[in-house]
């Protein structure tokens, strides 16, 4: 009796915890509300199955526990019951999988008008790069990385001259504009993770990965690294600021391009060289 009640209480406590948990997902700040909906649907289906299985078990323990003289039934198979249970399970699984795949299709299909933004991870900081007036990002190569060129931009690529480089600072994005985030790493795996955006993808040295989303709420959001990247993994932080178009452009105006940054250093270097000779 006690055992049956405790088993049932485990199921009830789980449901109560779920309903009253103060720990729940962060308020959404992107277009991925469909992901939240799919999670909610999955909670309903799996929750019902969990409660049903545990309640059935608790009932069996209560009803068929050993008593003097009880004898179990002899019942090796019941094809029809097993068949129905399999079909029912398949339907439940399909009900979760189908919407999941539909939303995944949206997730991997980047809209044509999306702006490209590059995020680069390295132990243990984030850098950002935005295309300049030409709307295109220049090429990069890890071999070109130096103190003067920390993101490894190709100086011979004309597309890269007007790229805006943001180092040791927050990334700003305009609200309501779809963004294709290009993800790059120069040392180990990292993962650009902003819980409020729901989206997430590893960055791998040697390749460029991506995801897309559209900011739907202004505010400042914390960036974390979600893929173990060594000793200071937990301290690899940054911020994304989502703001109205006008403020975004004001911020953009203040940023420096790759040409400006590297040009200045070249000037400084040339002067030094002349002086020493």
């Amino acid at each position: 009796m006690a055992v049956a009640i405790i088993l049932l209480l485990v199921a009830i406590a789980s449901v109560v915890f779920h309903l009253f948990s103060p720990w729940w997902w962060t308020p959404l700040a992107s277009n991925w509300g469909y992901i939240d909906d799919t999670i909610t649907l999955t909670f309903w289906i799996t929750g019902a199955v969990f409660v049903a299985v545990v309640a059935f078990m608790a009932y069996c323990v209560f009803r068929f526990r050993h008593k003097e003289g009880r004898r179990a039934d002899y019942n090796p198979e019941n094809k029809r019951l097993e068949w129905w249970l399999s079909v029912g399970t398949a339907i439940g699984v399909a009900a979760m999988l189908a919407p999941g795949l539909v939303v995944w299709h949206q997730f991997v299909t980047v809209p044509a008008g999306a702006t490209e933004v590059e995020v680069m991870g390295q132990q243990w900081q984030w850098s950002y790069r935005l295309p300049g007036k030409d709307g295109r990002l220049g090429t990069t190569d890890a071999r070109l990385i130096s103190a003067d060129n920390p993101m490894g931009l190709n100086p011979d690529d004309p597309n890269g001259k007007d790229d805006i480089v943001v180092q040791n600072d927050d990334l700003h994005l305009a609200i309501g504009k779809p963004v294709k985030v290009l993800l790059r790493s120069i040392d180990v795996l990292h993962d650009f993770y902003v819980p409020e955006f729901r989206a997430k993808m590893d960055m791998i040295p040697g390749s460029v990965t991506y995801y897309w989303f559209m900011p739907t709420r202004t505010g400042t959001f914390e960036v974390l690294c979600a893929e173990l990247c060594g000793a200071a993994h937990a301290q690899m932080r940054s911020k994304v600021v989502v703001e109205e178009e006008k403020e975004y452009h004001a911020w953009l105006e203040k940023q420096r391009t790759f040409a400006e940054l590297s040009g200045q250093r070249n000037v400084a270097k040339a002067a030094y060289k002349t002086g020493s000779e």
Binding site: A72, P76, L97, A231
Partner: protein
């Protein structure tokens, strides 16, 4: 409908099993240390696995202390925390669970359950254990080398695993890879034994479809392990070469602490594919033996035949096969081609169907049973709850788009601890309480056992159920200290502290269990040959504990499946597998 188990018509095939020429030990050393008897090897495997498991338990305490009370314990820093999680994970998955289920339960139960005298290659079986022990010692040695054990996470992803930003880059990672390579060599020697023994050394009448589900589970898991471990072997060798010789199997052009390295042209993703081609079957290598054990515990202690035996066997085989085509569901956000997601989400969710069938059949076995709430039965019930819970959260993570926000958060940690930590360990405990009387001839203490059960089950549930919600909140995994983070409320820290206290209590309950194992060896109640009234063959040995060669002069003859409980018309509520049907004398059976 009753045609599966009770086919008296088929009778018993002629004696196909030749008597084996057994190796007979001549001294104490060859009897108890360098033993070739599978039962002794099983005990050696089990004790070693549990000993290294205690190390993993202590590591989990240290992790929980840090997570529950960050900053309080000055002797734990970020590097050590990463080393603790890495070693804890590796030990639990490979050196404890895999070794205990296959090397421990497999060695003890396979020959006894199929009616063999021993494993078919006893000498190789002995070597298997000693190589395993060596692997464990190499693993333990990493705690004492300069730089300590590797902190790369149990997944050992390159480039991070072999670069200087990760603790244990000097010696830790090298010895870890060497230890894995040794483990796989040792396992292969044992695994070939288990498979060949099941296929070739079954006694007369023990058809495949009469085998207990424990044997089916261990057998299928072993076949899978023999196919999956080579992928890890190859990955380990190549990673070792990258680290030692500077090859670039997994290493693209990259910068290490601001300096360009000589690496170039390799693929970090390739390692992940190899790792998970092993890693996902590994989940079922641990789960299938647990499935088998739980089926047998439920049937025996509910005094009822397992429901849907044939479906249970096919479900085990189907899960085993499907688990080889789902590996990349661990890599949805790894940066692999996103279109893989459609395929792997579909295969992953399909695997839920045979798994669900198993759960239904367990609970349907309870229906109209005669349920004895013994300790093995309690552990079996707890297994079902934790396994169903963890399996259902697998439907979140397997469904590719749902995985995106949840991956790499505490939700994942909670999920895999529930489904392949707590649930299989419930099966291990249930199995130990169930078979300890056969191994030692004595019962484990009942009161200590019940205390151990309730604290472990409810405590572990209290640790891991709420943990899902921290993940839902967005708390990432493998953070030694979440620190000041805007979206993490103060209450989350309180929840972490609560989970840590629960984890410490659960940990101490395991000391009670260890004490029980030792105390009952000397003071436990005499068990007799078949204390649970079980029908399967291992309980019908002429001696308890079974002697060398298991069966005395003559091998048993099997006439029925392992689940003849409460057969209508039978005098007792179980009929042993080797009891001839009333109308059929053993002599008449083989022409």
């Amino acid at each position: 409908m009753v045609d599966v188990p009770y086919d008296t018509i088929a009778g018993v095939p002629p004696a196909e099993v030749a008597e084996v020429e057994l190796y007979h030990p001549k001294s104490w050393w060859t009897r108890y240390v360098f033993s070739q008897d599978a039962k002794v090897i099983a005990v050696q495997y089990s004790i070693t696995a549990m000993a290294i498991g205690m190390v993993a338990l202590v590591l989990s305490w240290l992790m929980r202390l840090q997570l529950g009370f960050p900053g309080t314990f000055s002797f734990i820093d970020a590097n050590q925390y990463l080393q603790f999680i890495t070693m804890h994970g590796m030990i639990m998955v490979i050196y404890l669970l895999t070794a205990l289920f296959l090397g421990g339960f497999g060695n003890y139960l396979i020959p006894l359950m199929v009616g063999a005298r021993d494993m078919v290659f006893p000498y190789v079986n002995m070597l298997s254990y000693w190589v395993y022990l060596l692997a464990v010692l190499v693993l333990v040695s990493t705690f004492f080398v300069p730089g300590g054990p590797t902190g790369a996470g149990w997944t050992l992803y390159p480039p991070q695993a072999i670069l200087s930003g990760t603790p244990g880059q000097d010696w830790g990672i090298i010895l870890m890879l060497a230890s894995l390579i040794l483990f796989i060599i040792g396992f292969t020697m044992g695994g070939l034994n288990y498979v060949v023994t099941v296929l070739q050394a079954r006694t007369r009448g023990m058809t495949l479809m009469r085998m207990p589900l424990t044997v089916w589970g261990i057998f299928t898991a072993t076949v899978m392990a023999l196919l999956a471990f080579p992928a890890l072997f190859v990955a380990s060798v190549m990673l070792l070469l990258d680290r030692l010789l500077g090859t670039s199997f997994f290493m693209p052009t990259l910068v290490e602490m601001g300096e360009l390295t000589k690496y170039g042209g390799g693929s970090p993703i390739l390692f992940q594919h190899l790792f998970w081609f092993f890693g996902h079957p590994e989940v079922y290598i641990v789960a299938l033996p647990a499935f088998g054990i739980i089926s047998d515990l439920i049937s025996t202690h509910a005094r009822k035949n397992i429901f849907g035996y044939r479906m249970m066997v096919w479900a085990i085989v189907a899960i085993g096969a499907l688990s080889f085509v789902v590996w990349a569901h661990h890599m949805y956000v790894s940066g692999m081609n996103p279109y893989f997601g459609f395929f792997f989400a579909t295969t992953t969710l399909i695997i839920a169907i045979p798994t669900a069938i198993k759960v239904y059949n367990w609970v349907l076995t309870l229906w109209r049973g005669d349920i004895h709430l013994t300790i093995p039965m309690l552990f079996a019930l707890a297994f079902i709850i934790t396994f169903v819970n963890g399996g259902l959260t697998g439907l979140f993570l397997g469904n590719v788009v749902v995985d995106v926000p949840l991956s790499d958060t505490m939700f994942v940690v909670a999920h895999f601890h529930m489904v392949m930590g707590i649930a299989p360990i419930m099966a291990v405990f249930g199995g130990i309480y169930h078979w300890y009387p056969k191994v030692t001839g004595r019962m484990l203490n009942e009161a200590l056992g019940r205390f151990h059960f309730w604290v472990t089950f409810l405590g572990a549930y209290a640790v891991f159920f709420p943990m899902h919600y921290l993940g839902l909140l967005g708390m990432p995994r493998r953070y030694h200290d979440i620190g000041e983070t805007a979206f993490i409320p103060a209450s989350a820290h309180d929840l972490n502290a609560f989970m840590s206290v629960a984890a410490l209590i659960v940990g101490f309950a395991q000391l009670v269990f260890i004490f029980n194992l030792i105390w009952s060896l000397f003071k436990g109640k005499e068990a007799g040959g078949n204390p649970w009234g079980a029908a399967s063959l291992e309980w019908q040995t002429p001696e308890t504990p079974p002697g060398h060669g298991n069966w005395g002069k003559e091998l048993p003859i099997v006439y029925r499946w392992a689940y003849d409980y409460s057969v209508p018309g039978a005098a007792r509520d179980f009929v042993p597998q080797n009891e001839p049907p009333a109308k059929l004398s053993p002599q008449g059976a083989h022409p």
